[in-house]
């Protein structure tokens, strides 16, 4: 084991952690907001909105993020309309494009996850809410969202962790985060395993913290369930 190499690698990689975290938090935030809009459209009952949402989910969930990012970053600039529009000053920036494509993609997944959570809300509880005159946003905010979110949490944790890992693609568009830096180190030193192990350790620690936080959240949101009697455990 070459500890000097490992520690210098670690130092180099850790310097890229803030970039990764920045990409991660921005894309989770914007992706989450967008997902709420998409899932609202999806379950709205309006065929036009639902159709749009379906199409959106289909495209962004159905194609690889790598391709989406490539087309957004390198592809949009090919069109004069965009290059000479007010958007270009934003789209010109690699970070904006990276966050944009990460957020667009996670929104597709998250919308589908939230929809699954909504499906698991007992129709009886929704009926009870309607019978006191709740509907629309109030019904969603007070009854559907809390229950659905609890149901969706395990799947959503997975998605959040996936986003952490997906930020790795941002080096495609010249945003050098942890994986990108690791790959650059590899093409300089060709010590693939060592560098990758260091990178993996960083992701594992970050994701461990995230997962632990989400587990706590899950636990604290589960108080309302009757504990499953020990005699019944699967």
């Amino acid at each position: 084991m070459d500890f000097a190499f490992l520690s210098s690698t670690m130092v180099t990689l850790i310097k890229a952690v803030p970039t990764s975290l920045m990409l991660f938090s921005l894309s989770i935030f914007f992706g989450g907001l967008l997902a709420l809009v998409i899932v609202a459209m999806r379950v709205s009952g309006n065929p036009f909105l639902a159709g749009f949402a379906k199409g959106y989910i289909f495209v962004f969930r159905g194609s690889p993020l790598l391709i989406q990012m490539f087309l957004i970053f390198y592809g949009l600039g090919q069109f004069g309309v965009i290059r000479y529009s007010f958007l270009w000053p934003f789209l010109r920036e690699p970070v904006v494009c990276a966050v944009l494509s990460l957020a667009l993609c996670t929104a597709g997944y998250t919308a589908e996850i939230f929809r699954g959570g909504i499906r698991a809300v007992s129709p009886k509880e929704i009926e009870a809410a309607r019978s006191v005159g709740m509907s629309g946003f109030l019904l969603v905010r007070r009854i559907i969202a809390p229950i659905a979110f609890r149901h969706a949490l395990p799947a959503y944790s997975t998605e959040i962790v996936l986003m952490m890992k997906s930020t790795a693609l941002a080096s495609l568009v010249t945003v050098w985060e942890v994986t990108g830096v690791a790959q650059r180190l590899i093409s300089q030193t060709y010590r693939t395993m060592e560098v990758f192990l260091c990178a993996a350790l960083i992701y594992l620690v970050l994701n461990f913290v995230i997962l632990q936080a989400l587990n706590l959240l899950e636990y604290s949101l589960s108080r309302h369930r009757g504990a499953i009697p020990p005699a019944l455990k699967a």
């Binding site: 509880e125 009870a128 309607r130 019978s131 006191v132 005159g133 809390p146 949101l221 108080r223 369930r225």
Partner: protein
């Protein structure tokens, strides 16, 4: 008390698939009316209540709450309410206690009870809590106010559901077997509460299998059979000699076993 028609239902029909559950039911309820809805299991009592507050959409018929007809749109053989806002408003004036209680599982009992007043009626939270605690006290589960529904006994859940509906102070209450899970002592308790409400002028539609309730608390008895009102009348008429043979057979056990 002025003689106001609080709730008027005209010729409601409802089918599930090919099975026609309600085949044209009409009913009028005035201020302070307590109407018992009797009928065999599966005769459509719950469905009828659910149609009144539009949890099920009747395929035909008209519902008028407090003089305000619920506007419906009929298109391609499907009906739906014209205004969601109107529906919300009307529902907030119609209280409902479900047969299966349907408490919100993610909220404590107290939260269940104040949810509607605070978030639908937008009343001050402190007032709502005070009132809710008084209500829970009345139905005897004040000590369970911070428990979640999953940790309550059947009768406790049912009482929580009643308290939740009452907290909305609706003009009309729809009760679906509100005492089915209660012991005789509590049944007496709850019936006392209901009688008091009736005296304050609340209109009630009560699906029940409790003949003593039908006889002693309500001022009208409606007997449903196969999706129709088979017969109706004052308790004295119905439980006296004047009842139809079908109704007499229906209450037969009640008559016998006492």
């Amino acid at each position: 008390m002025p003689d106001v028609t609080r709730l008027s239902v005209r010729n409601i029909r409802k089918s599930f698939g090919t099975h026609e559950v309600l085949r044209g039911i009409s009913l009028d309820a005035r201020d302070g009316d307590v109407i018992s809805l009797l009928g065999a299991s599966g005769s459509g009592k719950s469905t009828f209540l659910r149609c009144i507050n539009l949890l099920e959409i009747a395929s035909d018929g008209e519902i008028i709450v407090d003089g305000e007809p619920i506007r419906m749109i009929h298109k391609n053989g499907v009906s739906r309410p014209a205004s969601r806002k109107q529906v919300d408003h009307i529902r907030s004036e119609l209280g409902m206690v479900f047969q299966g209680f349907n408490l919100w599982s993610h909220m404590t009992i107290l939260q269940n009870v104040i949810e509607g007043p605070v978030h639908v009626l937008k009343r001050a939270k402190a007032d709502c809590i005070a009132e809710a605690e008084a209500l829970l006290e009345k139905v005897g589960i004040a000590d369970k106010r911070h428990a979640y529904p999953a940790h309550l006994s059947g009768g406790q859940q049912q009482r929580a559901a009643i308290a939740r509906a009452l907290a909305m102070k609706p003009k009309v209450m729809l009760f679906d077997e509100p005492t089915s899970a209660l012991d005789p002592e509590l049944v007496g308790e709850v019936l006392r509460v209901m009688r008091a409400l009736a005296e304050e002028g609340m209109t009630m539609l009560v699906v029940t299998h409790e003949m003593s309730f039908a006889r002693n608390v309500s001022n009208r008895v409606v007997f449903m059979r196969e999706g129709l009102v088979e017969s109706s009348g004052s308790p004295d008429e119905m439980f006296g000699g004047g009842a139809s043979p079908a109704f007499r057979q229906f209450i037969g056990h009640f008559g016998n076993s006492q």
